[in-house]
């Protein structure tokens, strides 16, 4: 069953992600793909994540497919203009890539080529529009394509954005531009996420709640201080503190598992997206703890 079919089947979906490495040694990446395939419904492949130059997402999506897993091509607007983006989308289609996640992308100043020219010829809403157009056999300029694309396109949303209202307005624009599924920024406050879902449920889109595993109270504080759109509530930080250094990661995974169970049991959203960021081996552990394996 494809990712799209699985989402539409009503099954509780799990996606995870792999980050292409910097350099051509992909042994670890292959290992992570092998570890996750068969357990998750699809694997996001990040696009020069944090604006750090790495192997392109497109090539690694193809590798993911070679391993028998289904990729979600992340595409940011930072590094390519509308010609480059559409061209890569056509290329992705002929390689058999079916899922694309459209994002604006971290600014080049976040990465390791700070002097690079940021492109942003399009942004996430317009990129979704471009995908929709290619799916309908036309490019952004209205030219006919000899063969259109077959994408299942998604986008991201930040339920903890502050202020929230402009973010929700953009969420609606993304839906109107053709987004059919959403993966959220990491969430840690289920009550607040429920409020977001109450809004999101008004629209015919699938929502996968984002998870970033908390390794320690220090990490939680770091996220709160530095990462836009992430808010770890105080009681979880206390829980991690109380666990002590040795048990903090275990506790972080327990928290994730507990939240995942709740999302699934109360049918709050359609699935989850786990961003393991280097701890891919923990994804099956969390899934097991949450009763998903």
């Amino acid at each position: 069953m494809s990712f799209q079919e699985a989402l539409n089947s009503g099954k509780f979906i799990v996606t995870a992600e792999v980050g292409p490495p910097k350099g051509t040694d992909i042994e670890t990446l292959r290992h992570d793909i092998e570890l996750l395939k068969g357990k998750v419904d699809a694997l996001n492949v990040t696009d020069n994540q944090s604006a750090v130059m790495r192997i392109c997402s497109l090539a690694i999506c193809k590798i993911v497919m070679e391993h028998g897993a289904e990729p979600i091509l992340q595409m940011t607007c930072r590094d390519r203009n509308r010609i480059g983006l559409q061209s890569d989308l056509l290329g992705a289609d002929v390689l058999g890539i079916r899922n694309v996640l459209c994002m604006t992308g971290d600014h080049v100043l976040a990465g390791d080529h700070k002097g690079a020219k940021p492109v942003y010829d399009l942004e996430s809403v317009q990129l979704l529009g471009a995908v929709d157009s290619l799916n309908n056999g036309k490019d952004m300029s209205g030219n006919d394509l000899r063969g259109g694309t077959h994408f299942f396109q998604g986008a991201v949303v930040t339920p903890e954005a502050n202020p929230l209202a402009p973010q929700l307005a953009k969420f609606e624009k993304k839906i109107r531009a053709g987004a059919r599924f959403f993966q959220t920024q990491a969430i840690y406050d289920i009550e607040k996420f429920k409020d977001f879902m109450e809004f999101a449920r008004k629209f015919p889109v699938k929502v996968l709640a984002g998870f970033v595993i908390l390794k320690s109270a220090g990490m939680a504080n770091f996220l709160n201080k530095n990462v836009p759109g992430i808010r770890v509530p105080e009681d979880l930080i206390e829980e991690l503190k109380a666990a002590g250094k040795e048990k903090a990661l275990e506790t972080g995974m327990d928290i994730a598992a507990r939240h995942i169970r709740r999302l699934r049991d109360e049918k709050i959203c359609d699935g989850i997206h786990i961003m393991a960021i280097g701890m891919e081996d923990k994804v099956p552990v969390i899934m097991q703890k949450a009763g998903l394996l």
Binding site: H107, V157, T158, P166, K170, K173
Partner: protein, 233 residues
């Protein structure tokens, strides 16, 4: 106005090391307001050059340095001084410098400043960039605040995921342009426009360089070529 910043003086002296006699040309408009091209800065540079053993044959603050003909006329009375000059240093923006290049066909012309952006003066000698001169104004659709300029990504349909407490991921010093636009459109009762409309990708062909405009006797730009809101079918 055009915001300028003085080049490093060491770099400037190095750039003009081969010349002996100078004419300094300032500008009474933007460069004076920026403190980079008024009488005071001319005197300062004159002092510096003279302390380095160079001659300054003359110095003048042009009314509007980017106005080529006007500046040329103003400079007529400095014929003698200019005759003694082998290098003109221009203390205004890149446009002013290139007026001088056009006026002084056979003289070396050097910029004293770096030209930075089109800016608004918020306080004395404090400037903000608010317009990128993109060639197709969208302020009518964004509550009068330009996201092409105020957002480091220049994005057109709302805040990215990098907004933190109303500020930008690029710097906590930058208020999120789209939060500002949202709040302003709410205040002026146009929030529905913001929510309902999606801005199409910008037509960058309107800013292909070098741009040229003849405003004399030309009718308004036809409506058909304007970028606008793109409604989803």
């Amino acid at each position: 106005m055009i915001i300028t910043r003085k080049k490093d003086r060491k770099e400037l002296l190095e750039n003009v090391r081969r010349y002996k006699s100078f004419f300094l040309l300032g500008c009474s408009e933007c460069a004076t307001l920026c403190g980079t091209g008024g009488q005071e800065q001319l005197d300062e540079l004159k002092g510096l050059l003279e302390s380095e053993g160079r001659a300054v044959a003359g110095a003048f603050v042009a009314k509007t340095g980017c106005q080529v003909l006007g500046t040329k006329v103003e400079l007529k009375r400095f014929k003698e001084e200019l005759g003694k000059t082998d290098c003109v240093i221009v203390l205004s923006c890149g446009a002013g410098t290139q007026s001088a290049v056009e006026i002084f066909e056979d003289k070396a012309v050097y910029p004293s400043n770096d030209s930075m952006f089109l800016g608004n003066m918020t306080r004395l000698q404090m400037f903000d960039e608010r317009c990128s001169l993109c060639g197709e104004c969208i302020l009518d659709k964004t509550g009068g605040i330009c996201p092409v300029t105020a957002c480091p990504k220049g994005i057109l349909n709302g805040p990215c995921g990098g907004t933190k407490d109303g500020h930008c991921e690029v710097s906590a010093e930058i208020p999120c342009a789209w939060v500002r636009i949202y709040e302003r459109m709410e205040k002026i009762g146009r929030l529905e426009d913001f929510k309902a409309g999606t801005l199409a990708a910008k037509n960058w062909s309107a800013s292909v360089k070098p741009r040229k405009l003849t405003a004399r006797g030309v009718p308004e730009k036809p409506q058909a070529s304007r970028g606008g809101r793109e409604e989803k079918k």
